[in-house]
């Protein structure tokens, strides 16, 4: 294990607390505060992964997950970015995408075959002859993909979600973000601050350079962080990455929990009034040959390795950089004991003179106007060629570490995903915000600033701008803050170099997808001339690093290759999630939610087999005999009880209630008599029947009506929609959940019911199709209807939900002597099918109108003033004989019933079976089908085509409906 640097104020590791973990089956140790990658690095691991296509060795390059270079399998989860995943006790870590080991990957031979694989080569190969493609495809699938996920993988850990609202959301907890949060909070606003690293501070946090006399950048970061943490109205989420930004200021992210938290990860969705983007900069990768060899890392990575994790990243280093942070890093690391062969700076001039002097003091060679052109070493860098930027002179330097960084680039994804616009800025060489989305403000390094005081000042300004959005700040105050910022240094000039003077055969513009500069050239030559098309053709930027590596370089390089002016350079598209996010984190706490009827528990106790039906759970069967023979026969010969509580139930009242009913129901609703049940249907504007139900009159302008279960949720919406221009005065209440429904059916139903009610319910006193209201035991008010859906003597009792159980128990008690029993939805389905009563959606579909299902008798055609929904279409389609119409049928020669959904055919499909069963009642196979008009005549032979029937057909013939009890005596008895 490497020795760690001690006594650095910036360290985030606790050297007294060792953490053990398993890597490739062997036990290793790291320290608390380590990421998996830094722990592995301290154990001498330098190759962390093999690349996707060429299986090139890959090492630690950034520490913020900008590429897939450190993706490994951790505790069964593939593609974990080890560089910014904190090490936990007993973690099991494995390499992925290798044949052999990371050090000796047999697949790495592909690296030599790149000449065979120009950009998009797969489009031109492997299809001739056609039969090799399936074989090739199998191989492609095997070698593609990074990690492996077992189909039996079981996620452990706790995943949560929160949906906070706030006045101001600040993305990024660096100096600008913290300053912004403090200034907005100072205006009395509620602020949420998101920081993706475990600690606040941004690029101040890990730097020991002087911020001002007697205070380092690190100390300044701690000072600001302390103020933020003290502020009561700032809610800080550390270790929380922003993953999405949406218009109207919705920000999403996720937070990784600490040991003490009650979650491992949680999804955060923030609705803010104003958003501040303080996401800082990342580094722009330097393009040269073998620019991704292990041993090459970015400046921030090298510095944080030492300052945050106490690890000197190498023994002898070469620097090839293009900005002052690179010089600062060289000085800091030198002072910690790193040998530095030379520092090549792309810039010929413009370096901070103080930093140059410090380099000179330390005898570190500074090569201005120079750049690395090639890294040597098979698996790890051992030598670097440094050349002048025009490629005229070169020299090799031995080293085991190359710190490489072309420049910086602002992190603007939060702006661009909301369709904010960026503009390429010639001075800084950055894509800077040009048009900000509404109520979103950029600040700090995102604006190209690099002076520390200016960054903080710009943060304070952004905080006030956000406060202005929340009406908590005046224009004058913003003006003052703008003046303050203007007095401070603006953005400094950035480097323009896009690529070192090389051909680019192995200069990788995208590490994740192994896309080289040469591949980009090939794509452009093929006619793919805009970055978005090049991305599609070469896959550059479509890997796990979310475009962090190629994001800036790709458009610059494409413009350079095509010799386009810089004004035409457009940044590439970024898409959420900005940080790859676990599905379990997005899912959070995911509960299945269904509605249950008042009888749910009792029916389960009675052996009910439940199914999801729309938003409800309902008892479909009451035994394991899914043909429901016993349930059906009991209703036909005795008495059964069914829970119908899921029916939609509504009250509509008011002076215009009848008009509203007339608009949506096809029947004449003005003639509903008190004490009678009216059956009717609703259509849509194509005349297709969408609902049926009963209506009863409860009083003057006061009606109670039912809808099918599925329509209960949208009936008020429907009626209000179709009367929205009329200004009618009526009121509706959805009583679906407050009323339960009991269906008591069978020849003995009356004998059971009369035992618990006081009124006369004889057929003479309470006949078929009649409605009564009464009380049971002077307490429970019941609305009772004589209906016949299942074709037997039936009472439908509408009971307040809270009394449902009582009435149910009373009926069961009363029915004991008859052996009353439950029947479920499937038994009801068969019973009503025998009676040819339809269920919408089963005997109808999108194309089926009221006339097609034989419900034309419900339609009152003499009410054009009502403008009834569907009436126009019904009239227009009335004579159309080509529509599918509902018929009843029996099977020929006592054959079995066909399976539901089978087809009616001749040379063509002529219809299909809606519901069919081997009827226990009728002792034959019967059913209903929708068939074309010319097949509806009684006696027509139906040729039935079932799935998997081959050449076999079965036949039925059209018969009169209803099939059972055609006179209807049983339901009227």
């Amino acid at each position: 294990m490497m020795n760690r640097l001690n006594n650095l104020a910036t360290l985030q590791i606790d050297s007294s607390r060792k953490i053990s973990f398993i890597f490739r089956g062997k036990r290793y140790y790291g320290l608390e505060g380590d990421t998996i990658a830094t722990a592995l690095y301290s154990n001498g691991i330098r190759i962390f992964a093999r690349s996707l296509k060429y299986h090139r060795p890959r090492g630690l390059y950034s520490l913020d997950g900008e590429c897939s270079n450190t993706c490994m399998e951790v505790d069964g989860i593939p593609n974990v970015r080890c560089e910014n995943t904190l090490l936990k006790d007993a973690m099991e870590i494995k390499e992925q995408n290798v044949k052999g080991s990371l050090e000796n990957d047999k697949m790495s031979v592909i690296d030599k075959m790149d000449w065979m694989m120009p950009a998009g080569f797969y489009y031109n190969t492997m299809h001739k002859p056609a039969k090799i493609w399936p074989i090739a495809m199998k191989q492609i699938r095997k070698v593609a993909g990074l990690g492996t996920l077992s189909p039996d993988f079981k996620m452990t850990g706790k995943y949560d979600e929160i949906f906070p609202t706030t006045d101001v959301c600040v993305i990024g907890g660096g100096p600008a973000g913290m300053s912004a949060a403090l200034s907005a909070a100072g205006k009395g606003l509620r602020v949420i601050l998101l920081e993706s690293r475990p600690v606040l501070g941004g690029f101040f946090e890990y730097r020991l350079k002087e911020y001002k006399e007697g205070q380092s950048f690190h100390e300044r970061a701690r000072e600001l962080a302390a103020q933020v943490e003290e502020a009561e109205n700032i809610r800080v989420f550390t270790h929380a990455s922003m993953i999405g930004a949406y218009n109207n200021n919705l920000i999403t992210g996720f937070q990784i929990g600490r040991e003490s938290d009650c979650f491992d990860e949680r999804y955060i969705e923030i609705r803010a009034q104003s958003v501040i983007v303080a996401t800082g900069c990342i580094e722009r990768p330097l393009l040269f040959e073998n620019n991704e060899r292990p041993g090459i890392m970015q400046t921030g990575c090298a510095l944080r390795m030492a300052h945050t994790y106490g690890l000197l990243p190498g023994k002898e280093a070469v620097f090839s950089i293009g900005h002052d942070l690179g010089l600062e890093t060289a000085i800091s690391l030198y002072d910690l004991g790193l040998k530095i062969s030379c520092v090549a700076d792309i810039r010929r001039e413009g370096q901070d003179s103080e930093l140059v002097a410090q380099l000179r003091e330390r005898n570190i060679e500074l090569l201005k106007g120079s750049v690395a052109t090639m890294a040597h070493g098979a698996k790890q860098v051992n030598k670097v060629t440094i050349a002048t930027v025009n490629g005229t002179a070169s020299q090799d330097y031995n080293c085991d570490l190359l710190v490489a960084s072309a420049g910086l680039t602002p992190v603007t994804s939060a702006i661009t995903v909301v369709r904010g616009r960026l503009k390429y800025d010639d001075h800084t060489g950055y894509f800077l915000p040009d048009q900000m989305p509404e109520k979103m403000h950029a600040t700090g390094r995102v604006l190209g600033l690099d002076n520390a005081l200016a960054i903080e000042s710009s943060g304070r300004l952004a905080g006030l701008q956000a406060a202005f959005d929340c009406k908590a700040c005046s224009i004058a105050e913003i003006g003052e803050a703008e003046n303050e910022l203007e007095k401070l240094p603006g953005p400094t000039q950035g480097t323009k170099l896009v690529i070192a003077p090389v051909k680019g055969r192995k200069s990788f513009i995208c590490f994740d997808e192994d896309t080289t500069i040469k591949n980009i050239n090939q794509a452009i030559d093929k006619g793919f001339d805009v970055p978005e098309l090049i991305k599609r053709f070469t896959s550059a930027g479509t890997g796990p690093g979310q475009g962090g590596i190629p994001g800036h370089n790709l458009p610059l390089y494409v413009a350079q290759y095509q010799k386009l002016p810089s004004i035409s350079i457009r940044s590439t598209t970024v898409r959420p999630p900005i940080v790859p996010t676990l599905l379990s984190t997005y899912a959070g706490t995911n509960h299945a939610m269904f509605k249950r009827t008042p009888m749910d528990e009792m029916q389960r106790e009675d052996g009910g087999v439940f199914r999801n039906i729309g938003v409800w759970q309902r008892a479909r069967y009451f035994s394991n005999d899914f043909s429901c023979k016993a349930e059906i026969e009991n209703v036909r010969s005795n008495v059964g009880i069914l829970d119908g509580s899921t029916l939609g139930k509504f009250r509509i009242s008011g002076p215009d209630a009848v008009k509203a009913l007339e608009r949506v129901f096809v029947s004449d609703m003005s003639k509903i008599k008190e004490g009678r049940v009216k059956y009717s249907a609703m259509c849509n504007d194509d005349g297709c029947v969408i609902d049926d139900g009963i209506i009863v009159k409860q009083g003057e302008n006061d009606f109670y009506f039912t809808t099918s279960t599925g329509r209960a949720g949208s009936t008020i919406e429907w009626i209000r929609y179709h009367t929205r221009y009329d200004g009618w005065d009526f009121h509706m209440v959805n009583l679906t959940d407050s009323m339960g429904v009991i269906n008591l059916s069978g020849p003995n139903a009356r004998k059971v019911l009369e035992k618990i009610v006081d009124i006369d319910i004889s057929n003479e006193a309470f006949g078929f199709s009649e409605y009564r209201e009464f009380k049971i035991k002077d307490t429970i008010s019941v609305r009772a209807m004589r209906l016949g859906f299942v074709g037997e003597l039936s009472y439908e009792l509408h009971v307040p939900s809270s009394y449902m159980k009582s009435v149910w128990l009373m009926l069961n008690e009363a029915g004991k002597e008859f052996n009353i029993r439950n029947f479920g939805v499937e038994a009801q389905n068969v019973l009503r099918m025998e009676k040819c009563h339809i269920i919408l959606g089963q005997e109808s579909e999108q194309r089926t109108n009221l006339l097609d299902v034989g419900l034309g008798f419900l339609w009152d055609r003499n009410k054009p003033k009502a403008k009834t929904v569907g009436a126009v279409a019904l009239r227009q389609a009335e004579s159309d004989q080509t529509r599918l119409k509902l018929v009843g049928f029996k099977m020929e020669n006592s054959g079995r019933a066909p399976r539901d959904g089978s087809l009616i055919v001749d040379e063509k499909v002529r219809g299909y079976i809606c519901t069919a069963r081997d009827s226990f009642t009728l002792k034959e196979g019967v059913g209903m089908a929708l068939v074309e008009g010319d097949l509806t005549k009684i006696g027509t032979r139906l040729e039935i085509y079932e799935d998997e029937c081959g050449d076999d057909r079965i036949y039925g013939k059209v018969v009169q409906m209803p099939l059972y009890d055609p006179e209807g005596t049983r339901m009227k008895m």
């Binding site: 218009n247 109207n248 919705l250 369709r419 919406e717 929609y721 929205r724 221009y725 009436a871 126009v872």
Partner: protein
């Protein structure tokens, strides 16, 4: 995208509380002499505007009212009535 809709009764709320109810088409036409073409136009045909349109919304998870707003279909932002009718 994160649509918000301003309900005349409940104020600005999350768009997922609402149901879209189609482009503004005016009241139901008289049934007399209505041709299939005219009826089809009323029932099915849309303008498919890429820009601001007047449209109906229903506050399903709220007060249960139908109301109209102006919305820019290219951004999903609501537009003030006065601005929309300019």
């Amino acid at each position: 995208m994160a649509l918000t809709i301003t309900c005349p009764i409940c104020g600005k709320r999350n768009g997922y509380e609402f149901k879209f109810g189609g482009e503004e088409r005016g009241p139901r036409p008289d049934e007399k002499d209505l041709t299939p073409e005219a009826w089809c136009d009323y029932v099915h045909m849309n303008n498919c505007v890429a820009g601001v349109q007047k449209e109906w919304w229903f506050h399903r998870d709220g007060c249960g009212s139908w109301f109209t707003i102006h919305r820019d279909t290219t951004t999903n932002f609501e537009v003030e009535k006065a601005e929309a009718e300019k």
